[in-house]
Amino acid sequence: MRIALDSQACQGHGRCYSLAPELFDSDDEGYAVLLVDGDVPADLEESARLAADNCPEFAITCQS
């Protein structure tokens, strides 16, 4: 699975780093930072999907 974050669309809701802390972190202003280079480890695919499905700005996309 591949994951991408559109930083322009992110408004700092913080859903992704709460639900998938292995994949996302917060910067000092609360905006999301993607911690992986795009490939999602197999055991984190469910977390990745949760992060994407709960972003109010549709800023995260996952592709299997």
Binding site: Q11, G12, H13, G14, G30, D53, N54, P56
Partner: protein
């Protein structure tokens, strides 16, 4: 102001969100309008639009060119010529001023900074529950004795204002948000403007204190200190926006749990469901409706809207739209896909969302740990607030779990 007579009304043309009948029935009104007239209009408050579809609310929130934040609380007195700064930056600001005013505040409300206030929040909750559990009859008001106090104590501490001022904060908020436009003859000494003027005079004498007011007094934007109006407006915003909002979300969550023992038990027995339950409380009982003023002749969902009209940005209505949510009209405690708009959308996403989530989580944890079983003592005695922030203001409950010894 157009006064809308009491009694049965056509919600598509005669709603007034500041009246008790609307407050008591709001979710049913939004559902009815979504089917029948998804962009409603009323002559109340000089004329106001109410879109209830998720798609329309989203489009407005993202269109800052046509929908200005110059006014965010619908009122007969419509702000004019204050954009792009507005009277309470950054919530009343438009681009380009908005970004800088917001960036100033973001670090203090980031998740890591908010963690600093968790222990103080927990201590406040425990103290309030201690008092509630001392009552021999097991009766309490979950809104008055619990929910309303928690955000007041936290924001007072963050700002560096005395906790005793909390009652005054609630009075200001009641006037400004719940009953706007009804207090024109108030003596100046009793207003938020007077209170804040005194605070700023006093704090300018000791500007280096380590709290949010101290930070604003020393902050710079584009190399310049903030103007007095900017500091004043931002403190007003932090007092007004952070209190009845969280108090409402917490009160509505406790109201729900009073009537749903299965959800209480699930939360106590299955801690992993808690993060999902928290978001579902926020979706299903979203407290905050914002407002905008149209900056140009524009349209909402194909409906023409002239410039300078009020538009209610009903995030709570959007959150119950079946076009956007499966089983939208049901509370699903472990909902896995929940892109709710309780904290808004776009550049004005609630600045305090991390703080609000922390307060709501801690307050529910502490309540359920010690009051796992309770019920509504007087279902007809529950009163919902009027205006743009919706939540129970009286919530009489009876504790049914065994008393602590």
């Amino acid at each position: 102001m157009t006064d809308i007579a009491a009694g049965p009304r056509d919600w598509a043309t005669e709603f007034d969100h500041t009246r008790e009948d609307y407050a008591a029935a709001a979710p049913a009104i939004w559902d009815e309008l979504r089917e029948r007239c998804p962009v409603a209009h009323s002559p109340a408050h000089g004329g106001v639009w109410l879109p209830v579809r998720h798609a329309d609310v989203t489009a407005i929130a993202n269109d800052t060119e046509n929908f200005s934040s110059e006014g965010v609380i619908v009122n007969a007195f419509k702000p004019e010529d204050l954009a792009p700064k507005g009277y309470a930056p950054p919530i009343t600001s438009d681009p380009p001023f908005h970004a800088g005013a917001r960036r100033l505040l973001l670090p203090a409300f980031s998740p890591r900074q908010v963690e600093r206030w968790e222990e103080a929040t927990r201590a406040a909750c425990r103290e309030l529950i201690d008092d509630i559990l001392q009552r021999p009859d097991g009766l309490a008001d979950a809104a008055v004795d619990y929910a309303q106090h928690i955000p007041v104590r936290v924001i007072a501490e963050m700002l560096g204002l005395p906790r005793e001022d909390g009652d005054r904060f609630r009075t200001f908020i009641h006037r400004i948000i719940e009953t706007p436009g009804q207090h024109a003859d108030l003596p100046y000494e009793e207003t938020l403007v007077h209170y804040l003027s005194q605070v700023i005079i006093q704090r300018r004498r000791e500007p280096h204190r380590d709290d949010l007011i101290g930070f604003l007094l020393q902050a710079e934007m584009d190399g310049q200190p903030l103007t007095d109006e900017h500091v004043f407006g931002t403190i007003a915003l932090l007092i007004v926006a952070g209190i009845d909002t969280t108090w409402s979300a917490l009160g509505a969550s406790l109201w729900h749990l009073a009537q749903h023992p299965e959800d209480r038990h699930r939360l106590v027995e299955d801690p992993e469901v808690a993060p999902f339950a928290l978001e579902e409380f926020l979706r299903f009982y979203s407290p905050v409706t914002m407002a905008r003023i149209t900056a140009n002749d524009t349209e909402i969902g194909g409906c023409p809207v002239p410039a300078r009209d009020w538009v209610l940005l009903a995030f709570p209505a959007a959150n119950r739209d079946p076009e956007a949510f499966e089983r939208a009209d049901e509370f699903v405690i472990d909902r896995q896909r929940n892109r709710h708009l309780a904290f808004g959308l776009g550049i004005h996403r609630c600045l305090g969302s991390n703080l609000a989530r922390m307060e709501l989580r801690v307050a529910l944890e502490e309540w359920l740990a010690r009051i796992p079983d309770y019920e509504l003592a007087d279902p007809d005695g529950v009163r919902w607030s009027t205006g743009q922030v919706r939540g129970p203001r009286t919530l009489p409950i009876r504790i049914t779990s065994p008393q602590e010894v």
